[in-house]
Symmetry: C2
Subunit: 159 residues, 2 copies
């Protein structure tokens, strides 16, 4: 069937717009009210890209979150000053800066993950296994489409 013909298409579309236009803002606001009010959502994404265990170079992280190298440098400065991440020069190649989370960084990282797990938990509220499969398929459709848009544009992307 043509899925745009369902009577619920408009309603669903409107709610999706609400979600997309507001998740970021809510995330930002939640952060401001938390113990970690000194970082922005963009900072959080930097921390998220560095992630728990694997050390990444500054330029790897820059690509993942679509920042230029110079903007990455100042973003790192900020987060180092605030005590969330560490900068270490690689021994193998002394040009590269390896990034890692400090204890404080790991704490926010986990809190942020928890925020997202909460969202997913609530998305699936009161759903049966078969329904969860359907939702999973829908989200997977969306990710595939976005991946595709990215390829058309020929830009790097952090998926």
């Amino acid at each position: 069937m043509n899925d745009t013909s369902t009577p619920y298409f408009e309603e669903l579309n409107d709610e999706l717009v609400v979600v997309f236009n507001n998740v970021m803002w809510i995330e930002e606001a939640a952060l401001k009210q938390s113990y970690f009010s000194d970082i922005t959502l963009k900072d959080m994404h930097t921390i998220d890209a560095i992630s728990m265990y694997s050390e990444k170079s500054a330029s790897q992280v820059a690509k993942m979150i679509h920042l230029t190298p110079s903007a990455m440098t100042t973003a790192i400065d900020r987060l180092v000053d605030k005590g969330y991440i560490e900068r270490r020069r690689s021994d193998k190649d002394r040009r590269v800066v390896r990034l890692g989370l400090t204890h404080k960084g790991r704490v926010v990282y986990r809190a942020h993950q928890e925020f997202h797990r909460d969202l997913t938990h609530n998305l699936l509220k009161d759903m049966q296994e078969s329904e969860i499969q359907t939702v999973r398929r829908a989200i997977h459709n969306l990710v595939s489409y976005l991946r595709n848009v990215r390829n058309i544009k020929g830009e790097p992307w952090n998926i």
Copy 2:
């Protein structure tokens, strides 16, 4: 059942994170490559808040998109200069500025709506009516939850 126990929870969660972390960026990038490369996604949200028919005051729009009045003023200046919106002093109350879209503004507005309808269309790809209902329920769950978070924080919100 406890929905966090489904074996697909982690997978779904990861994909959702991908969607949230990237939709904004993709939207931004798509805009940059379009005919409307002179506006940012934030500008687009301003245009979206003004919307097609109902004229809104500057402060109403500011609240909807979580900008301070002063930031709203300069955002409006920007978009007036670029020819997307119009500023008209209300006759009823000459303090208030009523905002409306120009022809150009209405064109981007529709293009942006089309972008979102595309997302929804792809979310529902190859789904049957009953499955669409399930997805709709899931998204509705999420919106309710976000609305709730907003209320807890006691902040205004544009839903």
